[in-house]
């Protein structure tokens, strides 16, 4: 097991001007489950491949433990990788698939046997050891791919979207297994995904990337509650955070968020930092769907509310999503099913829990609260 450090790592492909990975600087602690998440083309897979040695590093340094590994070939980096399409050798049996890495490292035969069988027991694939990969289902293949990584007992596990070829139910199940496996083995893991649910549930730390640049690196809770910028706020969370453009106005010593449709009073806890903001003219208000309320007691006690038209209603089981329109603005509210007595295409009062709101600079997208920018690099 080992820590991993990226020191100002760049990747520029010859045919492209802009770097695919731009000044990636990160320390991953020993035993951490780090998730790289972002939209496709954000450089997360490239970063992982540079760590694996399958891709050259254009600039910067990568360390595994204390070892400088820029020029070390993949096989000597003591890593194991799990691929999206499993990449099992079709002509070898499951046993041989798992044993190959050890065999090539000249491990003693009885030890290979012991390790393969132990991994097979952990992953419950003992019955398939004599079969060929094409005789297995997707979920089973994924376990074999994991098994092939485990038997190697590497310093770092690298996983490149290992769950995205599985169906929804199997994905949830395997996700739980991966978490359990990480708790058992405690091996440093770098996990790439575009799925924010995977990122939120599995990561001890999440790195959100966009256009090759780290947007924020922090724990799942902090990323959710204190997004560093508008991109992170919109990317993490389902349904996505609602955004409204407007400005912050001051009257009688109080701050209000104001655009042509709404005028919302801002809690005093925001004042100090909002007053220091570079521009109060152009801000984006962000508020998560669960912080829009329809509870009548709340609505009576508070002023921050608007009247909106219910456009679409989605029943999600425990919750209902209301897609609301007021003027040209549309927002999503996530409400408890017990409160659901709304008619489609009717008007409803909706309240804004402004103490949970976020304010972003309209130009840079940065969160105006310095506390939230802490995780940004």
């Amino acid at each position: 097991m080992a820590s991993v450090s990226f020191r100002h790592v760049f990747k520029t492909y010859r045919s492209e001007k802009k770097p695919s990975v731009n000044d990636f600087n990160l320390d991953i602690e020993d035993g951490e489950f780090l998730v790289l998440v972002g939209p496709s083309g954000c450089g997360k897979t490239t970063t992982l491949r540079m760590l694996s040695g399958l891709e050259d590093i254009s600039d910067g340094e990568i360390y595994i433990g204390d070892r400088f590994i820029n020029y070390v070939s993949p096989k000597d980096r003591d890593i194991a990788m799990v691929f999206q399409n499993y990449a099992l050798y079709p002509n070898l049996t499951i046993y041989e698939n798992m044993a190959l890495g050890l065999k090539l490292r000249k491990t003693a035969k009885h030890e290979i046997d012991m390790r393969v069988k132990k991994a097979a027991r952990i992953l419950e694939i003992t019955n398939y050891l004599d079969k060929k990969p094409n005789q297995l289902s997707g979920g089973q293949k994924q376990r074999v791919a994991l098994g092939r990584a485990i038997v190697r007992e590497p310093k770092v596990f690298l996983m490149d979207e290992p769950l995205s070829n599985l169906d929804a139910k199997l994905r949830a199940q395997t996700r739980a297994e991966l978490i359990r496996l990480h708790q058992e083995l405690g091996t440093t893991t770098v996990y790439v995904t575009h799925d924010q649910t995977e990122a939120m549930t599995m990561g001890t730390r999440i790195v959100v990337m966009k256009d090759g640049v780290i947007q924020q690196a922090d724990t799942p809770q902090r990323i959710y509650q204190h997004p560093a910028n508008q991109f992170v706020a919109g990317f993490i969370g389902s349904p996505a955070m609602n955004f409204m453009a407007g400005s912050i106005k001051e009257s009688e010593g109080r701050l209000y968020f104001d655009n042509r449709r709404v005028r919302l009073r801002i809690p005093e806890s925001f004042y100090a930092e909002l007053r220091e903001a570079p521009s109060m003219r152009n801000v984006i208000l962000g508020i998560r769907p669960e912080h829009l309320v329809s509870d009548s007691a709340w609505l009576q006690a508070n002023d921050n509310k608007v009247s909106a038209l219910i456009d679409i209603k989605e029943h999600m089981g425990a919750d209902t999503y209301l897609y609301l329109n007021f003027g040209e603005t549309s927002v999503v509210a996530r409400i408890d099913n017990s409160e659901d007595n709304f008619q489609l295409k009717s008007n409803v009062e909706i309240g804004f829990q402004m103490e949970k709101a976020h304010f972003f600079d309209a130009e840079t997208g940065a969160n105006l609260r310095t506390d939230s920018r802490r995780g940004q690099l």
Partner: protein, 288 residues
């Protein structure tokens, strides 16, 4: 049998018509094969019968007897041509498989400068029939001073753009992740090629083997142009001399028929053996 009857009973009229026309077409395409097999066993009077017959009435082995025993009295015996053909074909086959699979693997899975240029050259050379490059080939072979050697037969075949192209198309289908997984597992380049890529490319290898075998086995160009020494010439050349050229064309007919069958049999056997794999490659590579 019952199941087959049931299957036939369930066919629609269109399917019956389709099946019938396909059977007719297959029978028509099989005619030369039927003819060449029957022809080799015909006695002299049947060989020259008019109107000619397809099927042999009184089969005899005298044509083969003539071919093997009588011709051995001539300067160069039949067995020498056969030996040359076998040597040239087997070495060419081996060399083509080794060189083309290695070239295809590199062209498919590696990133390097001039890759596009190399591919363009291969595509370009696909367009030339062997006859069009006969003269430059002759010049190269005489410059290398390999006339009248087996290498002179083999060299023109080793550069096989069709084989490289087919093989590359097939290796392209093998996911890169497989190669990368093997790299991370610690496999060397040679091992990845031999143990991971080649077993998966078996269908393409079989196809290349057959294409190469057919072209080398039936090629008379090298013998005609590059070999002046009669003892270095191959079977196809000998057969053309039986039917035309110096020998008595009437007397040679029986031997020509027998030799024709001997030329054809290996092709047939290889095709029957590897039919399934060829189909697979053709489907994968989009070549028909």
């Amino acid at each position: 049998m019952q199941a087959l009857f049931n299957q036939i009973r369930r066919l629609t009229l269109f399917e019956v018509a389709l099946l019938a026309s396909l059977l007719l077409l297959a029978a028509f395409l099989a005619l030369p094969i039927v003819f060449i097999i029957n022809h080799a066993f015909k006695p002299y009077n049947e060989l020259f019968q008019f109107p000619p017959t397809f099927l042999v009435k009184e089969p005899t082995l005298s044509n083969f007897y003539d071919l093997f025993l009588r011709s051995s009295a001539s300067i160069v015996p039949f067995s020498r041509y056969l030996f040359n053909s076998i040597i040239v074909t087997s070495i060419s086959l081996f060399a083509v498989i080794v060189s083309c699979s290695m070239a295809a693997y590199v062209l498919s899975k590696y990133r390097f400068g001039l890759k596009k240029a190399v591919m363009a050259m291969i595509m370009l050379s696909l367009m030339f029939a062997p006859e069009t490059v006969a003269i430059p080939r002759y010049l190269i072979i005489s410059w290398l001073q390999i006339n009248n050697t087996y290498f002179g037969h083999i060299l023109p075949f080793i550069a096989s753009p069709v084989a490289v192209f087919l093989m590359k198309q097939f290796v392209d289908q093998i996911p890169n992740e497989l190669v990368e997984a093997a790299k991370v597992d610690g496999a060397s380049e040679v091992r990845i090629f031999l143990q991971i890529v080649m077993p998966l490319a078996m269908p393409a290898l079989a196809t290349i083997a057959i294409i190469t075998f057919q072209s080398v086995w039936s090629d008379g160009q090298a013998s005609t142009l590059f070999m002046q020494d009669e003892t270095m010439k191959t079977l196809p050349y000998y057969i053309t001399t039986l039917t035309s050229g110096a020998n008595n064309t009437v007397a040679g007919q029986g031997m020509a028929a027998a030799a024709g069958l001997l030329m054809f049999l290996p092709n047939l056997m290889i095709f029957l053996f590897a039919q399934k794999r060829i189909m697979e490659t053709m489907v994968h590579s989009g070549v028909k």
